[in-house]
């Protein structure tokens, strides 16, 4: 992935989060190249989601830091950082109101009002053409996650963090959302860090896979390397 010698999009340096005696994320050094899909797998409580939260700076590292385009992210205003590093969570957490209001939310924070055409284009992008005026409480789980994706994409992020975005969905919706994410990530050339507990999904979707255990990154490589190690 780093063949053209471009600098890493995301680089973590000894990234650590400790709460009391509990080290949740333990000195993680991770490089993610532009356009790469990095899958993070590991058992429940291994620190995968905590790692993503640190990269989005929803939590503060107790040691180490993250570099975005080789700039220490502590020097980037948090709101700008989070616009550039979008995050999709396990639950959609849609705001009450219409689908369009949700999609407008991110750009509106920067004073940008998306046109109806842009909203429709974003919704069509996630397979929800014609859903703009629908109330979010009438959506299925899969549709809600698609709206959450459109809402993140509306911010035009450079990096997409995915925290088990399909784990709360039924099998059909899971496959559909996974296929959609794969398509969007490739077409938008997004750098992506995707947390999952599903090793098969990690192998299917990732350029590289990192395996976490007890807060540590214990293995890192291509899906084949990690699977057969």
């Amino acid at each position: 992935m780093n063949a053209d010698a471009s600098p890493p999009k995301i680089r973590t340096e000894h990234l650590t989060r400790q709460v009391g005696e509990n080290v949740i994320v333990d000195r993680i050094d991770l490089v993610v190249w532009p356009g790469e899909v990095m899958m993070i797998v590991g058992p429940s409580g291994s620190g995968k989601s905590s790692l993503l939260r640190l990269i989005n700076r929803l939590d503060e590292p107790t040691a180490g830091t993250v570099y975005l385009d080789e700039q220490d992210y502590r020097t980037i205003p948090p709101l700008e950082l989070r616009r550039r590093v979008g995050m999709m969570m396990q639950t959609a957490y849609l705001f009450p109101g219409t689908v369009a209001e949700n999609v407008r939310f991110g750009p509106r924070q920067r004073g940008i009002e998306l046109s109806d055409e842009t909203i429709e284009r974003l919704l069509a992008r996630v397979g929800l053409a014609g859903f703009a005026r629908r109330q979010v409480d009438r959506l299925s789980g899969g549709e809600a996650q698609r709206v959450a994706l459109a809402r993140v994409l509306a911010n035009e992020p450079e990096v997409l963090l995915l925290d088990e975005p399909t784990s709360a969905l039924d099998q059909d919706a899971k496959e559909a959302v996974e296929a959609l994410l794969q398509e969007v990530i490739r077409e938008e050339r997004l750098t992506c860090i995707w947390v999952t507990h599903d090793l098969a999904q990690a192998v299917r979707m990732g350029d590289r896979v990192g395996l976490m255990e007890s807060g540590k990154l214990i293995r890192l490589g291509t899906p084949e390397e990690v699977l057969h190690a």
């Binding site: 700076r57 929803l58 502590r74 709101l79 939310f105 991110g106």
Partner: protein
């Protein structure tokens, strides 16, 4: 009827207070029979309430003709105690005492000063302290309701708040629906009271004035003034305390620092 046998007014009032407390104990016994055990809380509340209010009566008797400054000092002390009480309703919210105090000080203090300046509240201590304390108590209730609701809203919506932050929202925007809900929750009882004024109930001030021989219409206007003041101070106190609290639950890096599992 009691007054036929007891002629000393203080003894009569004390006996009436004991009877009222006794009736409350009967209610407590009925509740206990139904499985609602609040015996300790009710007995302590009755005892504290009686001792405190009689103590205030005694203090008023002593400082009856004192300077207005003394009245403001007493009200300031009441505000500190009110903030301490409101703090308990704020659960684990950070800096709750400080936040509640500022809410009560700005809400109650500004209205007390304004109403004293325009003459609605007499500067005599016998008027300033009881009416001022009523305003402080109402602002305390508003702050307690607002902070209690705010804590519940934050804990119930951690995911939504962090999602808003992750989409680039400022903290004040991310919590706005919950600050609004908290302020609204603290105002609804006041609005309902005002709406039902005179139809469902005749509140204490008007009742007191009528019993004291005032003109009913004069008493009614005065009661409206008091109710409008209570609505104002409730809004101000809950607004100030909730907005101040909203600023306390985020770190300087715009991270939610409250309500998350650690």
């Amino acid at each position: 009827m009691l007054s036929q046998w007891i002629h000393d007014p203080i003894t009569l009032a004390a006996v009436q207070a004991l009877i009222a407390g006794g009736v409350a104990l009967v209610m407590m016994a009925i509740a206990a029979w139904y499985g609602i055990h609040l015996e300790r809380e009710i007995i302590i509340a009755l005892a504290r309430g009686l001792v405190q209010v009689v103590a205030v009566g005694a203090v008023l008797l002593i400082i009856f003709d004192g300077p207005t400054t003394v009245g403001f000092l007493i009200l300031a002390g009441m505000m500190l105690l009110a903030a301490k009480t409101a703090e308990k309703r704020a659960g684990n919210l950070p800096h709750a005492f400080r936040v509640a105090f500022w809410g009560i000080l700005i809400g109650a203090g500004s209205v007390i000063i304004l109403m004293t300046l325009v003459g609605v509240i007499d500067t005599k201590l016998t008027a300033l302290i009881p009416i001022g304390s009523m305003i402080v108590a109402n602002s305390m209730n508003a702050v307690s309701l607002a902070l209690d609701r705010f804590e519940g809203e934050i804990q119930a919506h951690v995911g939504h708040i962090e999602t808003a932050l992750a989409l680039g929202a400022e903290p004040k925007v991310a919590v706005r629906p919950y600050t609004q809900a908290a302020i609204k929750a603290s105002l609804i009882p006041r609005i309902d009271s005002l709406r039902s004024l005179g139809i469902v109930w005749i509140p204490g001030v008007m009742t007191g004035m009528l019993l004291g021989g005032s003109q009913p219409v004069e008493a009614a206007f005065y009661q409206f003034v008091i109710m409008a003041m209570i609505l104002t101070i409730s809004g101000l106190a809950s607004l100030v305390s909730t907005l101040l609290m909203a600023g306390q639950i985020f770190t300087p890096a715009d991270q939610l620092a409250f309500g998350k599992p650690s």
